[in-house]
């Protein structure tokens, strides 16, 4: 922060209050005669460490600190001090209050510690606020107002300084021989350029190759559909017309989550006559039809079913799918219909999957095709 160190001025510059630069102008605060003005500048004749600053204007860095004369009524001042002190005392009391609440208030209560949280928050806020407000009040009421002016150091260094820098830099560059040794230069660039490959290669084992994982789910031929809540298989007749159930492949909970995260499926019971193309009727059972629950837009579970319109709505971005028409998109950002799961009924009357989904479920990806 050498810029803080005034780089020197002619002795005559010091302490002059120049109205044209940073001083008072008409309409501005006028210096009262006899105002105690303290000038802090460099010792006269000090060697400028950085040379002249900027091309235009005087070279001097001036700092002028004008402090308002202390006209404080001592009684007024003491009253202000008491106000400040009062705030700090309140702060300390609030801190004690916080400690007391921490120790004595119960957390395992019927409201799960909400009362303690309120009290802790309120006391902490009070302690902090009065601590801060006291300091601000101190600054405002007890310290003298000041009107300080300091030079900026804009515009970079002097031409001579820049010239010197150039010389140092180019002398060094010349000694390095950047221009003279092209082979060394180019091979350095090459080596430095290929080096990041090592870092990239190191990242390879962060995860497995995607392979076909996005094309398959945990559904397999003959896998029973189970209710995601009860984990019980479902029989024809378990559901009313117009109702909807989230189902999973039986035994999914024993698999790692990433193996079944694409498997959530919704089983909907419609009137058989309502189903229209492009619903694949061979994959339905008596008005029961199953679709992937994973939205084809961003992968949220499409879980809002509107019985009246038979629309399925994704709560994340409002993609809307028509259940009776192969879950085609009728609104929103999703581009593709929800894939249909081929279902059948096994010999015990339980719903089973005929196979896995015949197309990748969930959001699109580059290799999807």
């Amino acid at each position: 922060m050498s810029e803080q160190v005034p780089p020197g001025a002619g002795p005559g510059e010091l302490g002059e209050f120049d109205p044209a630069r940073g001083g008072t102008t008409s309409g501005g605060p006028v210096l009262r005669p006899g105002t105690p003005v303290r000038h802090v500048g460099p010792p006269p004749g000090a060697e400028p460490p950085g040379g002249p600053v900027g091309a235009a204007g005087p070279v001097a860095t001036r700092s002028e600190y004008e402090t308002e004369p202390s006209e404080h009524d001592p009684r007024e001042e003491r009253r202000a001090e008491r106000r400040v002190a009062l705030l700090f005392v309140i702060s300390a009391l609030a801190t004690f209050g916080f400690c007391v609440a921490y120790v004595f208030m119960k957390i395992h209560t019927a409201d799960y510690g909400a009362a303690q949280n309120y009290v802790l928050g309120a006391t902490l806020a009070l302690a902090l606020f009065t601590l801060g407000a006291g300091q601000v009040l101190w600054a405002k009421a007890l310290t003298p107002k000041e009107h300080a002016v300091q030079d900026r150091h804009d515009g970079g260094s002097s031409a001579a300084e820049r010239e010197e820098l150039d010389q140092v830099f180019f002398r060094g560059a010349d000694q390095l021989g950047i221009a003279r040794f092209p082979l060394a230069r180019r091979s350095l660039l090459f080596a430095a350029g290929v080096f990041p490959l090592a870092a990239v290669v190191l990242l390879r084992d962060l995860g497995p190759a995607p392979e076909k994982q996005l094309r398959h789910t945990a559904w397999q031929p003959g896998k029973r559909l189970v209710d995601v809540e009860t984990k019980e298989p479902i029989q024809v007749g378990d559901m009313r017309v117009g109702s909807i159930l989230t189902v999973m492949p039986e035994g999914y909970q024993d698999l790692p989550e990433e193996d079944w995260a694409l498997a959530p499926t919704i089983l909907i019971r419609t009137r058989p006559t309502e189903l229209r193309a492009p619903t694949n009727m061979n994959w339905t059972v008596d008005g029961y039809v199953a679709y992937s629950k994973v939205c084809t837009h961003a992968g949220c579970p499409t879980s809002l079913y509107e019985q009246q319109t038979q629309n399925l709505l994704c709560p994340c971005h409002q993609s809307t799918f028509k259940v009776t028409e192969g879950c085609r998109v009728i609104f929103g950002p999703a581009a593709r219909a929800l894939p249909q799961l081929p279902i059948a009924v096994d010999n015990q009357g339980y719903f089973v999957a005929q196979s896995d989904y015949r197309e990748p479920v969930g959001p699109s990806f580059w290799e999807r095709g």
């Binding site: 803080q4 005034p6 630069r21 940073g22 001083g23 008072t24 102008t25 309409g27 501005g28 605060p29 802090v40 204007g57 700092s63 921490y102 395992h108 799960y112 510690g113 949280n117 928050g121 309120a122 806020a125 009070l126 601590l131 801060g132 601000v136 101190w138 107002k145 002016v149 030079d151 804009d154 995860g207 497995p208 190759a209 995607p210 994982q213 996005l214 790692p256 989550e257 990433e258 079944w260 995260a261 959530p264 837009h297 961003a298 992968g299 949220c300 579970p301 879980s303 709505l313 709560p315 409002q318 993609s319 809307t320 929103g332 950002p333 999703a334 581009a335 959001p363 580059w366 290799e367």
Partner: protein, 533 residues
Amino acid sequence: MSVTATTSRKALRAVDDRLGGASWLRATMNKVFPDHWSFMLGEIALYSFIILLLTGTFLSLFFDASVQRVVYHGSYIPLRGVEMTQAYESTLRITFDIRGGLLIRQIHHWAALLFLSSIVVHLMRVFFTGAFRKPRETNWLIGVTLLVLGILEGFAGYSLPDDLLSGTGLRIAFSIVEAIPIVGTWAGFLLFGSNFPGEAFIPRLFVVHILLIPGVILALITFHLLMIWRQKHTDFPGPGKTEHTVVGSRLWPTYVLKGGGFFFVVFAMSAALGGLAQINPIWLYGPYNPAHVSAGSQPDWYMGFLDGALRLMPNWETNVLGHTLSWNLLVPALVLPGIIFTLLALYPFLEAFVTRDHAHHNLLDRPRNRPNRTAIGAMSLSFYVVLLLAGGNDILATTFHLSIQQLIWTFRIALFVVPPIVYYVTKRLCIALQRSESEVDHHGVETGVILRSPDGEYTEVHAPAPTPKVPELVAVSGSESGPASRAVAREGRRRRNGHNGDGGVLGRVGGFFFERGKRQSADPEPPRTLTRR
């Protein structure tokens, strides 16, 4: 001499003995800062970051970033016996079984919102007053980087508890990564360590959230402050203010006391919010399960514009040579924020290029005196606000009983119609404000007193313009800032008046940028900047 004074003197001596920093310390204490409320907005961001570090350290003592599955036996009865990850379980423990845990967690979350809000408002202050101009472009770039990092950090933070809401957010993030052409699928699997959701991601995200991003943010904030220190703070023009000086109060004692006090006030606000206003009640959402979602899923506000963009985007997707391009994810989630933040970062350079203003500026602009910059800013904000509102369209629809489809179409149209209108209105407003001011300047204030002259003519008496109460708001930056900015202003006028040397697009754009209202430029008087004496 009192004991304190002796001790202080000893301490000062000790520092100087070892570092020889007496002159540096003196200069530091004497450093002058200008005084204006809007200069404290960045301070709020700084202080909320410190609060985030403090509360985050406390939370990291108890949080367990693991997706090991456990059965909950804690004190929150509704979730007892439910299987969940340790990340979620330990968040519940912080909430219900650690005294003050909920308070600190909620302060942390509120401070994060405050951090990003204050960054955005601070950015608006810097933008509309032209504080980003030379020599402060680098600090603008650092600021934009901090904003982006802050958004990522916030998203990483609220994704950690592995509740139903945060898991849904991560599901969307995975889908967005998947949609990146060529490398998307690989990138997703490498980041998550498997197909979504996997076991690796939460622990990795934890490292990103508590080490990587905060480390970079801390370094950048340090650099941001060093730059302010070095370049000195900008100030509004006014009597006694020049481009070459800084006017205000000194660091010691004024700003040490005021700044320190303000830190505690900001902390107090966060603590009050954390204690009294519930935020992110993860126990109500339940643990994440890919088969479930809660209706009305809303991200934190700073992610809202991205969510809105995702909601508004039409369902475009193309298949090219056996490959899928999901425009419905790529455009709103990657292309759009890419464009927004690139333009934001480049704005100082674009403006300097167009106006050819390469002078140093330490005095700020009044927004009305830069009608086009102000209008561009207002236009961009309106675009952002439409996206933000669209991100809450389901809430709006249920609250006001509107059709979600109609609402989305309204927002889709508004996104393109509202910004140009806002641009035009803002610009006209700025020019009108300039004119009314110059009117008062030239002709005085209307008094409401009507005089009839002997020959029957009625005239209103105008009083001379009063001395403005806040003089620094009236003077125009550049009016006393030396030949450089005068040359710029002259250049603008020259272009506006059609005497354009290059006659190219750049010249016309530059002239357009300096526009001050037609009536004024048609004024036979030599054009001048609005300055009230």
